[in-house]
């Protein structure tokens, strides 16, 4: 029998007010502006855009403000908002070779065309607190080189590719439209387009852990960062009524090309293999983790064993989405009164039966001894 329970409306309304107060914090401290989050917490915004799977810096900042900085809650807000919007279509595939570079490093070549550009990074900081940031009024005055960077820089794997040392990366016959997991259910084994889409919107922490597991031997790849690049790329879109590509403006992207050890076959001599990561905003850790797991998930394609979690597409794709994961974990908080009542009755019955059985056995024993 299912007993519907109603109630709690007043309590829920009251909690809305209370969470608003909690979010605001001490009213004596000025309220944070969405523009301040957008400009000064850009890396958090990037994470929200990735895991919310929607590029909009203002909305990401608003989501962070509304969620008190809870990144997964913020991603959830982005996902929910996205479902209310019509989709005009798909962009032309991004051309990351034409990126306006702000940072680009390679661990495989010291001297490469375009050079090693450190850009804005915490990599070479000492991780000591800058207590000056406790006060307002910090200003930066970055240096400027006399000349800009090269207008385009070759992607590092393409340099190896020119020598035939790198696994080729070419569109399949007919350059098909990619699968869209927001429109169609995923089935396994999942193709590379499905895997990449799933990881691009997947949880950074989950992918970081999986990428780390691969490095530690649970998936055995030996990667080098062929290249990490960060910068702006134009998004082009062909509106139906115009019939030609329109430039919609720039988005910030991080791309990682991971170079891994060799694969070959009867037809192809041994070559380096690739792992690829591409994400919104400046999100190097996410792009690198994605490229590690991308390579691990190619195990089946290369005829390698798939003994470890990072090599198993079903495991990775079903658990990478933190909005889904949080939904299922956190739904446990919701009322399960009836289910639990059932369990309670069951365990009481089991215990009662056990006691009765023990009592019977004890009564029976002296007789058996006689």
């Amino acid at each position: 029998m299912y007993v519907a329970v109603k109630g709690g409306e007043a309590a829920i309304l009251a909690t809305h007010d209370l969470v608003a107060e909690a979010r605001r914090g001490d009213p004596a401290v000025p309220e944070i502006l969405v523009a301040q989050i957008r400009e000064q917490q850009a890396l958090a915004c990037a994470r929200v855009m990735n895991e919310g799977s929607l590029y909009d810096q203002d909305l990401a900042a608003l989501a962070l403000k509304q969620s008190q900085g809870d990144v997964i809650e913020a991603a959830f807000l982005m996902r929910a908002y996205r479902t209310t919007l019509p989709r005009f279509g798909s962009s032309e595939p991004l051309d990351t070779a034409a990126m306006a570079i702000r940072r680009r490093v390679s661990a495989t070549y010291k001297d490469l065309p375009g050079g090693q550009v450190l850009g804005p990074t915490y990599d070479y900081t000492h991780r000591l607190f800058d207590f000056a940031l406790m006060d307002e009024g910090s200003e930066a005055a970055p240096r400027k080189a006399p000349a800009p960077l090269d207008a385009t820089m070759p992607r590092v794997p393409d340099i190896l590719g020119a020598e035939g040392l790198m696994e080729a990366e070419e569109p399949p016959e007919g350059d098909p439209r990619p699968f869209d997991l927001t429109r169609d259910p995923v089935s396994f084994p999942a193709d590379r387009d499905v895997r990449l889409q799933s990881m691009a919107r997947g949880d950074e922490g989950f992918l970081l852990g999986l990428g780390y597991s691969v490095q530690r031997g649970f998936g055995g790849t030996h990667p080098f960062v062929g290249e990490v690049r960060v910068g702006e790329v134009a998004v082009e879109f062909v509106p139906e009524e115009l019939g030609f590509a329109v430039d919609l403006g720039d988005i910030t992207l991080t791309e990682c090309q991971m170079v891994n050890q060799f694969q070959g076959s009867k037809e192809v001599p041994p070559q380096f293999t690739r792992g690829y990561g591409l994400v919104f905003g400046h999100s190097e850790r996410k792009a690198m983790s994605m490229s590690l797991v991308d390579r691990a998930l190619k195990a089946r394609d290369f005829g390698e064993a798939t003994n470890y979690p990072a090599q198993q597409d079903e495991f990775v794709l079903y658990h990478a989405d933190n909005v889904e994961a949080a939904g299922f974990v956190e739904h446990l908080k919701l009322p399960h009164y009836v289910d639990f009542q059932g369990e309670l009755e069951l365990i009481r019955r089991i215990r009662k039966e056990r006691e009765e059985r023990l009592a019977q056995e004890q009564n029976a024993m002296p007789e058996a001894a006689e």
Partner: protein, 133 residues
């Protein structure tokens, strides 16, 4: 349209002046475009994620149509940019409006150049230490 997509609402407003009479063929509408990437940069297409886009189509009283498509959710900017797009098609090359657009494009290029020069200042100059003789 690329320059207008990157311009601020204020810049477009200043350049357009008083909005001309027009019909809205497509009222400003915010939606998304699914942004595609390519595996490895050049391989198989995949869906990276969506981006917000706002579009608008207008028709001036002389029948000229103007279009606007740009990232973001600014409806007012979309409408003004569509009007400017229509006006630009009516004006001769070298007119004030075209010069205004050229000036905006120059500004945008200068901003890109500045960002690139700041990045270039972080370019590594390697030097090698020679040990022994």
């Amino acid at each position: 349209m690329a320059t207008l997509a990157r311009a601020s609402r204020g810049e477009i407003e200043t350049l357009l002046g008083d909005p001309p009479d027009h019909d809205l063929l497509k009222a400003p509408e915010t939606g998304t475009v699914m942004v595609e990437g390519r595996a490895g940069g050049a391989g198989r297409r995949f869906n990276l994620g969506e981006a917000t886009v706002t579009r608008c189509v207008v028709r001036l009283s002389n029948g000229r149509m103007g279009f606007s498509y740009a990232l973001g959710r600014d409806s007012r900017k979309a409408r003004l940019a569509a009007l400017l797009d229509a006006r630009l098609q009516d004006e001769a090359e070298g007119s004030g409006l075209h010069q205004g657009i050229a000036a905006l494009a120059t500004q945008q290029a200068a901003a890109r150049d500045l960002a690139s020069r700041k990045a270039a200042a972080t370019k590594v100059d390697f030097f090698t230490l020679v040990r022994g003789s």
